[in-house]
Symmetry: none
Subunit: 412 residues, 2 copies
Amino acid sequence: MAKASIVSIGNELLNGHTTDTNATYICRQLLSVGVPVVSVYAVGDDISKIVEALKRAAADGDIVIATGGLGPTDDDLTRQAFAELLKTELILDERLLEGIRELFKRRGWSMPERNRVQACIPKGAEAIENPIGTAPGILAKTKGRILFALPGVPAEMKMMVENSVLPYLRKQGSSEWTVIKKVRCFGAGESAIAEKLGDLMRRGRNPLVNCTVDTGVISLHVIATAKDKQQAEVMAERDIEQLRAILGELVYGEDDQTMAEAVGRELARQRKTVATAESCTGGLVAKLITDIAGSSDYFVGGWVTYSNKAKVERLGVSQELIDKYGAVSEQVAAAMATAAKRIAGSDFAIAITGIAGPGGGTEQKPVGLVYVGVSSDNDCQTERLMLSGSREMIRMRAALSALNMLRLKLRG
Amino acid sequence: MAKASIVSIGNELLNGHTTDTNATYICRQLLSVGVPVVSVYAVGDDISKIVEALKRAAADGDIVIATGGLGPTDDDLTRQAFAELLKTELILDERLLEGIRELFKRRGWSMPERNRVQACIPKGAEAIENPIGTAPGILAKTKGRILFALPGVPAEMKMMVENSVLPYLRKQGSSEWTVIKKVRCFGAGESAIAEKLGDLMRRGRNPLVNCTVDTGVISLHVIATAKDKQQAEVMAERDIEQLRAILGELVYGEDDQTMAEAVGRELARQRKTVATAESCTGGLVAKLITDIAGSSDYFVGGWVTYSNKAKVERLGVSQELIDKYGAVSEQVAAAMATAAKRIAGSDFAIAITGIAGPGGGTEQKPVGLVYVGVSSDNDCQTERLMLSGSREMIRMRAALSALNMLRLKLRG
């Protein structure tokens, strides 16, 4: 079975300012095509250290993936390190140079002379196209090892892994396949879910069922290993079905589906529309909904009514209601949701009002108190949440809870 | 100058489920006492791999910090790896055993037999107390190297770094201090900025000036090393001033300040307010503004006018204008900004309309075309952007460009 090793390059990884999330991503992606990563080396922008790390990585694995150090500045040394390792020289690739010039032109700039170096690759190596950045990647072979150099910019690195590295490795064939599928849940804690699943989460079981948590979203990773891909997929699917049966409406989606995506898909399927009226989340719900391409089919628009004045003037929430119950109240959440649905002419509206902190809390209405309203043709449902954590966490939890309420409503 | 190397231990670091944030934390902490980390090795729960990584780390640095693998289960192998490296045996430390028993007792449990192994440390090494967990750390010396083994649980690791590792290193009398400051820029590419800075970014210079990029935001890290902290700070400050002088209005902030924070601070200082009207960014600008606690002082609210209907009905943009120029046009961006300012009664308004993709592009108006408008009492300025990358990147770049326009306007 082929194994891989990763070399992460850049001073920023060693001075405590950047966490190496690229390595995590690559580990996961490679495992999905049956290639486990056995070591990760992080080194600074130092040519001898980079070459040494590449050599160690090539001793550990059949496949070496280097990230970073492909930029245009003097401390970008991965190209040279590859050339040194391959005992060859860098040559200018005219086609790559044209591509980089083109990218600058599209941005309305002319290419600085210094970017020319990005079109150089070691003699005998192949370039990997970078449609969204100026740093092409490199694919080289030496002594039975396959070496990739990818940019350190996460979006560019990911695009190359998906479009070039994974297809290449799949073609190579592998004796064992690992399939990872995920089930995404919302509405219960990690330990409550672990209790429901019991023996399914046993260590050493195949498929292995792991659990990670992120702002209330519980992801259950089903990792199935088998002789071939189809068998691994069948094993994973069988577990996914079991998880769905046990967890019921807690499951909102699979794999990397976001809550907004799941809600959006259901809205589109039912040909329904939604509007938003946000106070403490300040546009976050609308942002999450419109993260999804094609959301214009079901999202008509929204209001960020951050001040009381905006709630009164934009949505017609009555000043008396705000004076009587406060802006953070069930009554105001309901009034916002009802008004947003009516004015926007949508089938549903989501409203949120709360105290995200860190300031602004009182004894009666502490930081983390959030009211969510979801209005439909039939009624307006509200929910009181008491959330903890940072401002960012409170806002995200509130937004996800609101979307989850709409999801459950759409389930009927 | 003493240097350090980190060994991160655990299968979870290699299967793509855990990102090694421990290494980032340790890098930052060690640098603050003048000990730079020169390499990080991540390996799985395999005794020979761990020993090999420890040897490599001891070759790279005077100080080796290992994290993980100190738990009570069979795959926790760091204790044995240390013993093997030190060519000695593990011995049971009765005092440690008592401490672990005590911890279980406090939780109302009796100690499982399997936890006994956590009280074992290599002969001749010192134990590091763990007041909040069952895994004690290890401090060992061999061949002029100092080796620490710390738990992988972040809270326990951090407590040991602060209470044991840093005091130990400070006592060793580090002869040097390192101070890191950042300058954050927007509005020019990495290579253009590098060209302006020239010799300031020279490798080996002290302070060292490094550059990282994230969605158009260029961060210049100034890393100053000196005999004492004050001197390092003076050196860093001097460079920061120089960078500010050279880069002028490209600099929007320092350290971890976001663009929205910089704009918000300036709005608050000038006692001005802003409203937003967003199409393709779908609430992202409002979200970024309200990420900042206290933004209610200057943010009155906003509209997400995702559909044309919403642009017409909410903001009174004329249907004729949309028919004539298209929703993605300079004219519509200006009309949205002007209307948002007027209706909200704010001092400024930001408007964005564009094509975030991946669908919806045409030859005349391709994906990535975005118009931004900023209206003030005096005028309404617009800008045409041609952005590339994923939907997420296009939206973020558009939002940051709009905030940056407002920032420059506020500078006068």
